[in-house]
Amino acid sequence: MPSHPLRVAVVCSSNQNRSMEAHNILSKRGFDVRSFGTGSHVKLPGPAPDKPNVYDFKTTYEQMYNDLVRKDKELYTQNGILHMLDRNKRIKSKPERFQSCKDKFDLVITCEERVYDQVLEDLNSREQETLQPVHVINVDIQDNHEEATLGAFLICELCQCIQHTDDMENEIDELLQEFEDKSNRPFLHTVCFY
């Protein structure tokens, strides 16, 4: 076991569905976890694919919830968006943008390759200071409720395994290989430095 609890960040694009689902599960399992989005805006599905609901990162979940209730309560109840927002607001007040967060983590888990790229770009563009390593792992999860739940469990299992290693940095490579074989999906993995 590492000597301190892992500081984990879960990142998706809007900090709504995938990262929040994982945030929910991980915090229930006692992890020191935070969640983020990397997009420039927070986007939620709208009445048509080309008409999403767009908010900025300052909008609270509560406000989004009220906004959507006002717009079309039935539609957003049916597609589960309201339910999701309801859950989110109980976890934290509003979505956070990864690029704006200067806190340090041991492990950043991204939910799709594009997000992984953005996280890497951001981390590499920061000035190096302490040279503390942060491992970034990408777990591809499709952006829907079911996949988010499955993905969150996978992330959780992964975090638990990493938390239980004696020497995370020395074993993470092998661990990820095992996970790849087990879950039959590839994980992108790299290390960056603060």
Binding site: M1, P2, S3, H4, Y116, D117, L120, E121, N124, E127, Q128, E129, T130, L131, Q132, P133, H135, D167, M168, E169, N170, I172, D173, L176, Q177, E180, P186, F187, L188, H189, T190, V191, C192, F193
Partner: protein, 1174 residues
């Protein structure tokens, strides 16, 4: 863990507390105080605490540089901490403190030894951390890389085109180090910086580098390139090399991660203004990595601006000079004087890197025709399966055939060629090196690098890497493997270049080797493969090595095989895969040579491995078993080893389990294996034998093996028929008939297996009987001793055993008897068994000994009938018989109920017809009875005597028994006197033997017996006196001691009685009798008054008196029908205390006695009784 957190928690409190206190003190003192408190924690048990201390050291030193002098040693200690997490933290801190120290020392005006020592230590620590690039821990390596990155930046000059992160603006770099510092040498630092870069570059091309290390290094290089553009060339080259040679150990997803990183960092480098020169290379790489051209263009800085700057920058020139030696793995940098500050004239186009040179040289050669040839040649070397990395990274070549692409291709090839140490660029290098004399060192390094690459199959990955462009990979592979095809290029080179080299022809330089040389080289080569175990294991290619070795070794004859086997046996545990591979290979060879092939080689291999394992002291890993079970064929000699293994007492179980597996899993030869196990079943070591027997018993349950085992067991037992033990029993080595006699051992040897099968298959018992009848006496005895356990195991209900008893072959009687004994030893015989034995006894073999074991199952009369025969047997046997009958066997819980009670038995003995049995045996038998005091108590004996006495005629031994009983139980005296008196009534003198005993008894029991003697008729009394004259005198005295009263009273009574009765024909004797009977009370004898008779009678003691009086009265009253005697009786009954029961009983028994002897009618008695009742 909770505890740990609490630890840290409490530590924080302490620290907060200390800080609060410190807030009141000026800063400097504050730190000093804190320092003391904090450093105390540096050896704390908790990792977190130690890390915290490191953090403190860093902060403290940054705040107050002077503290470095003290704390650097602590950091050094923590750098060697046992926890990697502490080490990592220490590396991070050193990364910071290195810069801090350098800056402080450079600025510091004062010179002190302390400072110098501090610098020395920091330098040494720097070296230590660089060495950690080879650490076994991935995380530590990662941190070491970052340290190296920072070190390189610090130890190189910052230039105007350097990217400087804001935070690091104040950081020290080489350009701020004065050249005249006392102990910090500018040159040395500069060299150190370059060495560090070389180290990093070298680290990156390690074939087994982990993906995280690689990623980290890629990032570090990008940082270096941007902050120190002078190194950009090396960086870009390194990227190129890496791109073409991704480590073969990376998994598919890791390849994509690394490529993503490569792309990211390439873009970062590209964005730097100094990338201008490398834009071509970088964008080609980016294209290969799948980046659209548009995006590349977007990331490319506008060329104009930067073109000016670098040109005027002296460092660009310096950089150029450095580029040339900075090859991927060149370490000849040191010879370069590093003339950074003294730049060469810009017009020095020659100074290019080897890759550049080679690329330039190749470019014109890549005509369509040449390329097509290269492709054709390299087709041969294409791997069978498409490598994963190729599959993952393949992108179609869009710009094929364009000049840019050909340039890129040339460059890629040049990279490969330079890496392989060939090509004009490399020769150019070599040319330079020649002068320095360090050429050999450089070459060695190259060889070192290439060797593992080839061994781990890097060649394949090279093809994979190149295969993105089908035209490219061909030449690359060709270059690497076969130098010949590029001969034309060498020629061209001669034409254009120095001409120092001549045309290379292979045939010119080689000579055929002699046989011994060949052999020597081969075996050395094999040895090298053999001993490179660890290195290969680390690269994950062990299976290739194993396969290679086994193939090689099986193909070549000679010492090699032995060497390899020996090598395997040195550490068979870890080298078992090689062992198996070798074995299979041998077998394969054998199969391929069928039908003429010989198994010799395979046999030798298997035999050596097995016996090696067998001789090893101990292993618990089951390797032996595994080897045996997985060997394709078990040869004779291998079977011998297995046998030896089984004979080892400490491993017998494992050995036999293996053998069992063999028997079960290899049915085609199972009997051969089974035979070994069977052989072991009569092994001289007990443990081996018992284990073998246990295994055989289990196997006996399997139908297909049953017959064989049975046959073997029977054959073995059949050996007992021989007069002498056959040689078979003494091991196979002596095949002459040994004239040694049978011993217990050898007999048992023949029986072990049989006897353990017997309880499983009762039918076999008949075979034993038939062998038994034929065997000699010695063997018979041994057999009888050996069969106890199995026969008991069969039990008396076994139908086969009953059948044996029933049939009892001639000559097997002793065997049957023994069986019977074993069966009934602890348990009473079953009715079936008794029936069988009885049958046998009566109809076929009238040997009474058969009956003994079942004696308690027989009827009473049967036992009595058999008694005469039984007691004639051996005394020990007789004793056993009696034990059984009397239930005094040793066996506890033998609750068999004997058909005879002890009394019955003794009586039966007395009644044995003396014609059937001699008196001596009977006497001995009775003595046995008397020996059992617990059984024959006084009560039992009394009953026996009573019954014997009542018999008519009297048994001959009656008096013997009486005397013996008396001797055993003297308290029977009274009872015996009674017996004696009654014997007188039975006219004992008519039986000479008994009479003799009677007298003897009287003799022994005097003076008690006087009263009895006085009852004898005179003739018999005389006869007594004749026999023992010494009796006469004491008897007379006895009579004389009567008082006159007594005499008178007795006499008168007797007279009157005799007068009336006439039963005492001799009055004198009656008188005597009376006197004797009354003697005990003589003193109290009162003077006769009133009716004297009755009164005196009242005082007579004992029942004898009573008896006499009663009989007298009775007879008188009966005979004379007189009431007066009846009245006497009445009075007698009415006087005195109430008569106790036993008196009444006696009266009654006396009455019945008199009724018989005096022939009194029962009517008279009845009258008398009714009279008495009144």
């Amino acid at each position: 863990n909770k505890c740990l957190y609490e630890d840290v928690f409490s530590l924080h409190f302490e620290v907060v507390d200390l800080l609060n206190q410190a807030a009141l003190i000026p800063t400097d003192e504050k730190l000093a105080v804190l320092k003391q408190e904090m450093i105390a924690f540096q050896t704390d048990k908790s990792i977190e605490v130690r890390k915290f201390v490191i953090g403190f050291i860093e902060e403290a030193c940054k705040r107050d540089n002077e503290l470095l002098l003290r704390l650097i040693a602590n950091l050094n200690m923590l750098l060697r901490d046992e926890s990697v997490n502490v080490v990592k933290k220490a590396i991070l801190t050193l990364t910071q403190l290195y810069k801090v120290t350098l800056q402080w020392l450079v600025r510091s005006k004062a010179v002190s030894d302390m400072q110098e020592a501090c610098w020395d230590m920091v330098t040494q620590m720097k070296g230590d951390v660089l060495a950690l690039l080879d650490s076994e821990n991935d995380g530590v390596r990662t941190h070491a890389i970052k340290f190296t990155e920072s070190l390189i930046i610090t130890l190189s000059p910052r230039t105007s085109d350097s990217d400087v992160p804001k935070r690091q603006e104040g950081d020290i770099s080489l350009d701020k180090v004065p050249k005249d510092h006392l102990y910090i040498r500018y040159d040395t630092l500069c060299e150190e910086g370059k060495t560090a870069l070389e180290k990093l570059l070298k680290f990156m091309v390690h074939p087994a580098i982990s993906s995280i290390n690689l990623t980290t290094a890629l990032g570090s290089l990008a940082t270096i390139a941007r902050q120190r553009p002078m190194f950009m060339s090396e960086v870009v080259q390194a990227y190129e090399t890496l791109h073409a040679n991704l480590p073969p150990t990376l998994a598919k997803s890791q390849v994509s991660s690394v490529r993503k990183n490569l792309k990211l960092h390439l873009v970062a480098v590209l964005k730097h203004p100094c990338s201008l020169e490398f834009q071509g290379q970088i964008s080609t790489l980016l294209l290969d990595l799948g980046m659209p051209q548009s995006e590349i263009t977007r990331s490319t800085p506008a060329p104009r601006e930067q073109r000016k700057r670098p040109r005027h920058e002296p460092y660009t020139e310096g950089k150029k000079i450095k580029i040339e030696p900075a090859l991927i793995e060149d370490d000849e940098d040191k010879e370069e004087p590093a003339p950074i500050t003294a730049p060469k004239p810009p017009a020095a186009p020659v100074a290019q890197s080897a890759i550049d040179l080679t690329a330039e040289f190749l470019h014109p050669l890549l005509t369509s025709e040449n390329v097509a040839n290269l492709v054709l040649i390299s087709m041969v070397y294409l791997p069978d399966v498409m490598p994963a990395s190729f599959q993952a990274t393949y992108t179609p070549v869009e710009s094929a055939g364009t000049d840019a692409q050909i340039k890129h291709l040339a460059r890629l090839m040049a990279t490969q060629m330079t890496a392989a140490g060939i090509g004009p660029g490399e020769e150019d290098e070599a040319g330079k090196e020649d002068g320095t004399g360090e050429d050999s060192g450089g070459k060695d390094l190259l060889i070192k690098r290439k060797l593992p690459a080839v061994m781990v199959g890097q060649a394949i990955s090279v093809v994979g890497g190149y295969a993105e462009k089908p035209t490219t990979d061909a030449p690359a592979a060709a270059v690497k493997r076969l130098p010949e095809p590029i001969l034309p290029s060498a020629q061209t080179k001669i034409a254009g270049a120095s001409g120092r080299k001549k045309v290379f022809r292979l045939a010119d330089v080689i000579q055929p080797l002699s046989d011994t040389q060949t052999e020597n080289l081969t075996s050395k080569a094999v040895n090298r493969i053999l001993h490179s175990e660890k290195a290969i294991a680390q690269s994950g290619m062990s299976h290739v090595r194993v396969k290679l070795l086994s193939r090689l070794v099986t193909q070549f004859e000679g010492m090699m095989k032995g060497d390899v086997l020996e090598f395997i046996l040195d550490d068979i545990r870890t080298r078992s895969d090689l062992a198996f591979s070798l074995l299979y290979q041998e077998y394969n060879t054998y199969l391929s040579q069928l039908p003429a092939g010989l198994l010799d080689s395979y046999d030798h291999c298997l035999y050596t491995l097995l016996s090696g394992l067998q001789e090893k002291p101990e292993q618990r890993d089951g390797l032996f078993t595994k080897l045996v079970l997985e060997a394709p064929i078990i040869t004779e000699s291998a079977l011998d080893v297995i046998r030896r293994y089984c004979e080892d007492e400490s491993r017998v179980y494992l050995g036999m389990t293996t053998l069992k597996e063999l028997i079960i899993k290899r049915p085609s030869r199972q009997f051969q294996y089974l035979h070994v196990l069977l052989d072991l079943s009569s092994h001289e070591k007990e443990k081996v034998r018992t284990t073998a027997l246990a295994f055989l018993k289990r196997m006996y349950e399997k139908d297909q093996l049953r017959d064989y085992i049975e046959k073997f067991a029977l054959n073995y037992m059949q050996l007992l028929v021989h007069p002498n033990p056959p040689s078979l029993l003494f091991g196979a080595d002596k095949d002459t008939e040994v004239a040694a006699p049978w011993t217990e051992e050898t007999v048992r040897q023949c029986l072990f297996l049989y006897l353990s099968l017997l309880p499983l298959n009762h039918r076999l018992v008949h075979e034993l009987a038939s062998v038994y009848t034929e065997a000699i006496a010695d063997i018979k005895r041994s057999v009888l001793r050996a069969i106890e356990q199995p026969i008991r195991g069969m039990g008396m209900n076994s139908p086969e055993l009953l059948l044996l008893v029933e049939n009892c072959p001639k000559g097997a009687e002793t065997l049957v008897t023994r069986c019977l004994h074993i069966l009934t030893d602890k348990v009473p015989p079953s009715p079936e068994l008794v029936e069988r034995v009885r049958d046998l006894y009566h109809k076929r073999v009238p040997d009474v000994r058969f009956l003994i074991p079942v004696i308690n199952g027989l009827e009473k009369n049967e036992v009595i009938q058999a008694l005469p025969k039984l007691i004639k047997l051996n005394p020990i046997v007789v004793k056993e018989v009696f034990n059984r009958l009397l239930g005094t066997q040793h066996g506890e819980g033998a609750s068999s109920v004997s058909p005879l009670t002890p009394g019955d038995l003794l009586i039966a003995l007395h009644n044995i017809d003396s014609t059937k049995c001699d008196m001596k045996s009977i006497i001995k038998a009775t003595n046995l009875c008397f020996g059992e005091k617990n059984v024959y108590t006084s009560e039992v004996l009394a009953v026996v005597m009573q019954q014997l006495m009542e018999q008519s005629p009297l048994p001959m031994l009656l008096m013997r028994t009486v005397i013996q009983s008396l001797t055993m139980y003297p308290r029977l005296g009274g009872f015996v006197m009674n017996i004696l008196s009654r014997l007188i009534v039975k006219q004992v003198w008519k039986y000479p033997k008994v009479w003799e005993g009677f007298v003897k008894c009287c003799q022994r029991t005097k003076p008690q017996s006087y009263s009895v003697l006085l009852q004898l008729p005179p003739a018999q009394l005389t006869s007594v006196f004749e026999r023992c004259p010494e009796m006469r005198e004491p008897l007379l005295q006895h009579v004389h001691s009567f008082t006159p009263h007594q005499v008178r009273a007795v006499t008168s009574l007797a007279q009157s009685l005799s007068f009336h009765l006439g039963i005492f024909s001799d009055s004198a004797s009656f008188c005597l009798f009376f006197c004797v009977t009354t003697s005990a009370k003589a003193d109290q004898w009162p003077p006769p008054r009133g009716p004297p008779h009755a009164k005196e009678v009242m005082f007579l003691p004992g029942f004898v008196c009573l008896f006499v009086c009663l009989s007298v009265c009775l007879s008188v009253s009966v005979q004379h029908n007189s009431k007066s005697y009846g009245q006497i009786l009445m009075k007698f009954c009415g006087l005195g205390p109430p008569t106790p029961d036993h008196h009444q009983n006696l009266i009654i028994s006396s009455l019945s006695h008199f009724q018989q002897t005096l022939k009194i009618s029962s009517k008279s008695v009845h009258n008398f009784l009714s009279y008495v009742a009144h």
